[in-house]
Every structure is written in structure tokens, then in C-alpha cells.
Symmetry: C2
């Protein structure tokens, strides 16, 4: 038995076409066309296996992971497969989940909306912190970074398995929610001090693009303009916070108030 197993390990080699297929998933068009994405790292792949997501194939270095869906690869092959700077010991090809967003949840839940957040690291970090602060859904404008970009998946540290990311026409969705009395929050340099406000535990928190902030179309739907004060309050110099940082401070303050 042991001999057979060892033998198999050496015989089933990964084909060039297979490596090309995996690597093609670095590109959004290919990910969308095939409905697949790549997740790397033992912990994340283990979590994926026990989640509701469908794992198509796992590549692992010898001794890391077992199972019918696992193909053992050499460190050299893993390097060719990996999209990270430093290849991990495990890589999975996973089917993209399809979610539908139900606006009815806005009656009692807090949701994030991202208006063209472009940096994959920022998006991944925002998905991770949304998970921490109990925000299960994120609405994204179509120009926001793709949540299945390998860098985003990596930065979410597994939160991509729990937080649902929806791409949709953001201004339309915001205006519709607003017309139904849902509070739409946004951070602006001329907004009201967030610490002077009583914050609802429902509604939409809109965060804008790294350079341009919230677009005029989305800003038109905002009902509550908030501001994270610098310290001291009259401080000049520093002009802004990174979008993921501003999202975190805003979400933390919403949730702090929930405990009152």
C-alpha cells in the first residue's frame, strides 16, 4: 500500500495545460468566464473544504493534506501555480459562489457599500473587518476591485467565505433604499463628527474611491454625512485616512454604540 501511494505521488504529474489554467485565473476575465477563483494557504483551503463553497481541485506539497481531491505537487510546481510572491504549501481552485442581495435585510441590518474601491489590499482588508464587525453583505460598484482577485482573497484571511460581496449599480440601489427610509451613511470632510451622533444599527455605510472619495451620484443618496475627527480637532497637515482605516473606525463606532 505504501509503495503504491508513493508511486502514485510520483506518477501523477501536473500537466502544463493545468498550470496554465490555474495561472489564467489571475485575470478577472478568465475568472468570470470559468466561474472559478484561486485560494492559497493550508488554513484557508481547510476552511474552504468545510464550507459550502465547491472546491474543484486542491494542489498541495507532500505531507500537507490528504483526500481524493488533493493532488500532490513538487515545490517547483507549486511555485509555477502560485500567484503569491512566496508560494504557499496548498492551493485550491474554487467555484465562485453566486449570491443575490435581498434589500429587505436593510430593515434591520448594517451593510457596507464600496464606490470604486480600487486597491485589492484595501478591498480584502475591508472584507476581513466587515466579518469582524458582523457585517454580512458588501455592495460594490462594478468598478470596485474584484473580490476573487488572488490578492483580495489573501487579504481577507478567510473572511471571503463568510461575507457576501455583491456587484451592482450602486447609485440606483442607494436611491431605492433611501426612498424606502433606509439611512445612508457616508464619510465626508465636511460631515458631522461621528462621535456626536446616535448611530442606527441598520442602513448602508458608503465608502469611496481611494483618490476621489464618494462619487457625486452616490453622494446624492447619502442621508447622513459623517466625519472622523483628527486629533487635535483643529489639526492641519494630515489630509485623509486610508479607505480601509476609515471603514474600520466607522464600523467600530457603529458597533460600540450598539452595546449601550
Amino acid at each position: 500500500m505504501l509503495v503504491t501511494k508513493l508511486f502514485c505521488t510520483f506518477v501523477i504529474m501536473i500537466t502544463k495545460a493545468e498550470i496554465q489554467l490555474v495561472r489564467s485565473l489571475a485575470d478577472k476575465r478568465n475568472r468570470d468566464e470559468l466561474g472559478l477563483f484561486v485560494a492559497e494557504g493550508e488554513k484557508l483551503v481547510e476552511e474552504l473544504r468545510s464550507s459550502s463553497l465547491r472546491v474543484r481541485k486542491i494542489y498541495a506539497l507532500e505531507g500537507v493534506m490528504q483526500g481524493d481531491d488533493v493532488q500532490i505537487v513538487t515545490p517547483k510546481e507549486m511555485e509555477r501555480l502560485s500567484m503569491l510572491k512566496t508560494a504557499n504549501n496548498t492551493l485550491a481552485v474554487v467555484e465562485q459562489p453566486r449570491y443575490t442581495f435581498d434589500p429587505a435585510m436593510l430593515a434591520e441590518s448594517l451593510v457596507l457599500a464600496l464606490d470604486d474601491v480600487q486597491n485589492p489590499g484595501n478591498l480584502g482588508t475591508i472584507i476581513r473587518l466587515a466579518d469582524w464587525f458582523g457585517i454580512s453583505d458588501i455592495l460594490c460598484s462594478p468598478a470596485t476591485a474584484d473580490c476573487f482577485n488572488p490578492k483580495v482573497v489573501q487579504a481577507t484571511m478567510g473572511a471571503i467565505l463568510r461575507v457576501k460581496v455583491h456587484y451592482l449599480d450602486l447609485p440606483t440601489m442607494l436611491l431605492q433604499a433611501k426612498s424606502q427610509g433606509v439611512p445612508i451613511y457616508g464619510t465626508f470632510l465636511d460631515g458631522e463628527n461621528i462621535y456626536d451622533r446616535t448611530l442606527d444599527q441598520r442602513g448602508i455605510i458608503v465608502m469611496g474611491n481611494e483618490g476621489k472619495g464618494i462619487s457625486a451620484e452616490c453622494a446624492a443618496a447619502v442621508t447622513d454625512r459623517l466625519f472622523i475627527p483628527p486629533y487635535p480637532a483643529d489639526r492641519a497637515g494630515s489630509e485623509s485616512l486610508n479607505v480601509a482605516i476609515a471603514t474600520a473606525v466607522t464600523c467600530a463606532e457603529f458597533r460600540r454604540q450598539a452595546k449601550k
Copy 2:
């Protein structure tokens, strides 16, 4: 006059050796040896020029910037000089400032301490948010990312000109401060809910490495173990926050309490 100026623009070409020198500053050893670093982007370079830092040389595309210290380069030359994915229109070679840290400031100021924060993006984001929250000094363990790494400089969005980053023996500094009655804060999964605490506006807030958290040596000096609660408080699943995010939420809460 105009003819002469145009003529000069074309005659003074950048040498291969000069490009090599600038590019060598991507490497920490070279930065340290030469005491220089690179900053890119028109806004940042303009800020640098009017700061106390010494700018050695500026490279700019035609029409962006003027002055004796500015050398006009072609877009192709700028691409060769740049360390960013997408080259900017301006690049400066700047002398690294040398700061000394005066522990006496701990009697009335809040300072950050980074225990092996490795990711340049995280360090840059932390420097930027320190600036926003009025924290003028950051103490770093020697294994923390270099604040003059081009990716760090970029992520600080200019805050590197205002926040002083010190590299020193962190456990020794923390223990010394502790012995003088300075409160040493740190975030831990078994810490006390940060929102249940009255926080001082002085002392040191220690943040740990992305993977390992705060080292045992530094943890030994911590006097106040804090915890940023997830939502809901008993939430399982998400395990942690990114270090820059945790730093932001912690600093925001300190400064929120200052306004009471």
C-alpha cells in the same frame, strides 16, 4: 531665452549610472549606506520641498515642476527610475532624517510601538493614521519594515514628513518606560474590552507582528491588555483584524475619550 531653455531640456540627459543609483535605493542596505530614500508623486515632492527634509535631486516630466534642483526626464526615463507599478510624473531623492527619541515625552504624549510589523503597506498606513490621530512618534523593533521603503513612503501619503519613526531595542525601551510608571497598552484576544476602559492620553500602544502578534518580550512590559470586541460579542468565525485596522480602532478610541 526660450530657445536656450528648450535646448537644455534636450541636452541634459540622465546617465545610466544615475538611474542605477536611484534604483539601488529600492534596497534597504543601499538606502542605509547612502542615507537616502526615494519619494514619488508631484504632491509629495512639493511637500518635501517645503519641509525641513533635504531634497538632493528631483526628476520630473516636462511641464510639471521648475527649479534648479529639478531635472527634466522623458516618460521612458521616469519609468526606468520609478519603483512604483505605474510611474508618476515626479521623483525625488531625499536625505533620510535622523531623529532621536526623548522618553520624557511619554509623560504627556501617546506614542505607538510596532513589534515586527513586516508588511510595508501596513507600516505606511499606520504612519498615515498616526499623523491623523496626532501621534508624532512611532517606536519600531529593528525587524519592523523600513519606513524609507518606497512602498511605505507611498502608503504614508506624505505623513512620513511629519511622523518620526525610531528603530530601537523595543523590549528594553518598554521595560524602562514601564519602570517609570508609563502605561503600556497592547491588544490581545484575552484583553479587556477597550470600550469598558478609561484610557489615558499618554503612554505607549504596542502593536504586534501580522502573524505572531506581540512577542513574549514585549508582552511582558504591557501594563494594560486591551481587546477590540467583535460584533456580536460572542461571534465565532472571524479570528482577527489586520494590524493597521486594529491600530486605527485603538487610536480612534483613545482620541474619542480625550474629547470628553
